[in-house]
């Protein structure tokens, strides 16, 4: 009788330990994936940060009086490397908008548009913008998986009080196409 009881305790205890290990590892794996996803975004933000001065200098050679746009770009660029994740993404969205205006303004300068340096930079910046969008998507998917895991049963029992991660949101104004007045 006593052995049956001990046996039952051992089996149930073993099953609980296995379950714990399984969920612990899944939670850790997702946490790591979120960090990796952010690292992807970080790399692209840094690349963009480095490219912007080249672009600004190129444009200044042709359209030096578009001061307002340059200021906006400089402000957005500064915000890309410090602050919270969401703040840096917001700065990046702001940069996207400012660049959109810059590219639209560039339409008025045929020499600038014809400059191979300018078109190359434009292509690169837009390529990075796409990658940031995809990296953000991967980040948010990872966050969703993580949040689902730690808020549903039985994951919530093993979450050890972990908080939900925040999604990286896009502000509404960033979705609108840039407006240009001539």
């Amino acid at each position: 009788m006593i052995w049956t009881l001990i046996g039952a305790v051992v089996v149930i205890g073993g099953a609980l330990v296995l379950l714990y290990v399984n969920y612990f590892n899944r939670i850790k794996t997702l946490e790591n994936r979120i960090e990796e996803a952010w690292a992807q975004i970080d790399v692209q933000l840094q690349k963009r940060f480095d490219l912007v001065p080249n672009l600004v200098n190129t444009v200044k050679g042709y359209a030096s009086h578009e001061r307002e746009i340059f200021e906006k770009i400089a402000e957005a660029r500064a915000g890309m490397v410090e602050g919270s994740r969401q703040a840096r993404m917001d700065a990046d969205n702001m940069l996207t908008q400012a660049l959109g205006r810059l590219f639209a303004v560039a339409e008025a300068y045929p020499d600038l548009k014809a400059s191979s340096n300018f078109t190359m930079l434009q292509e690169q910046l837009e390529g990075i913008e796409n990658k940031i969008a995809y990296a953000r998507q991967f980040y948010n998917e990872s966050v969703l998986d993580f949040n689902n895991l730690i808020t549903t049963i039985p994951g919530v029992w093993f979450a050890g009080g972990r908080k939900k991660h925040d999604f990286l949101e896009i502000p509404d104004e960033a979705r609108a196409a840039p407006k240009v007045e001539f």
Binding site: R33, A37, Q40, E123, Q124, G127, N130, K131, A133, Y134, A135, Q137, F138, E141, S142, D145
Partner: protein
């Protein structure tokens, strides 16, 4: 849910690959031994260990180098230089979205619109597209096609499909060999080995295998492609969040492609659209009907 299904597909493909490797190894081993028996019954004792070694090397190198065989058989060149920055960027972006390392990128010099992915696992994968595809599709359509291929990579479809490709090629070669050996060995065998029941059985088995191997692999190809193509369409659309991109691309593919890429039949199931038949000629195709795929994408 979607992650779970990715995961399920990955394990299914791993299992299928192992199963395929075992079955093909067994068939190859049986063929080697029966051929050697037809040639000279006393050579069987030597040929059993030799057969094991050959089988092992063949299966291992099919797994290890299958993607190179496929890439060179389709005349794919590395996409390097400023001409292909845009293509490389697109591939890198979708690799980020799928959470896999960036695959190597290749271009095939063809006017047709087509693409495929190959490789032994997501860490060693390649994507090849035709020059025609690059010239004809707009950004969203190209992203749709690349996302489809990226899903094949992430699902590990590429592993299984590449194995099938290399082993289908093998079946063709082997059927040639065994038939020739049968005709050549037939006369002399009758003279010197009158009571060899076992020999007759082996010959019959070898002969049947030779006939059925291409048919069987053909069936595998068809089973492989249909389910996987629909699935890759769906999960590709999940990556781009824009099913119409791929649907538009498939529409252009069905209008432009005549099916004259002339690639080996052994690799045709890897392509997004059958490279040897017009997209409208669905009956004998290894691929699901393109209208059906477009319909499903439009309905998403």
């Amino acid at each position: 849910m979607e992650r779970r299904s990715f995961h399920d597909e990955q394990s299914r493909n791993k299992r299928d690959s192992i199963l395929l490797a075992i079955v093909v190894s067994a068939v190859l081993f049986a063929l080697i031994v029966s051929i050697s028996y037809i040639w000279d019954p006393s050579s069987v004792y030597i040929m059993v260990p030799v057969g094991v070694i050959i089988t092992f090397i063949y299966t291992w190198s099919s797994y290890q180098y299958g993607d190179r065989v496929v890439l060179s058989s389709t005349n794919a060149q590395p996409a390097e230089g400023s001409r292909y920055i845009y293509l490389n960027d697109t591939v890198e972006g979708l690799a980020i979205a799928a959470g896999v390392p960036k695959p190597k990128v290749y271009v095939m010099p063809s006017r047709e619109l087509n693409a495929y992915a190959t490789g032994k696992d997501p860490e060693h994968a390649s994507i090849a597209v035709t020059q025609g595809l690059l010239d004809t599709l707009d950004r969203q359509e190209l992203e749709g096609v690349i996302a489809h291929e990226m899903s094949h990579i992430k699902n590990r479809d590429v592993q299984f499909m590449t194995l099938v490709a290399v082993l289908v090629g093998l079946a063709g070669i082997l059927s040639h060999m065994i038939l020739r050996s049968y005709w050549w060995g037939g006369r002399s065998r009758r003279d010197r080995d009158k009571g060899g029941n076992l020999g007759l059985i082996l010959v019959a088995v070898g002969f049947l295998l030779a006939i059925f191997a291409p048919i069987l692999t053909r069936l595998v190809q068809m089973a492989v492609s249909r389910r996987r193509e629909f699935l890759a369409d769906a999960s590709g659309a999940e990556l781009t969040r824009y099913p119409d991109g791929l649907a538009d691309a498939l529409e252009k593919i069905s209008q432009v492609n005549k099916g004259d890429m002339k690639v080996s039949e052994s690799v045709s199931h890897l392509f997004i659209s059958d490279p040897n038949r017009s997209a409208l000629d669905a009956i004998y195709s290894t691929h699901p009907p393109i209208e059906e795929r477009i319909k499903r994408l439009r309905a998403m």
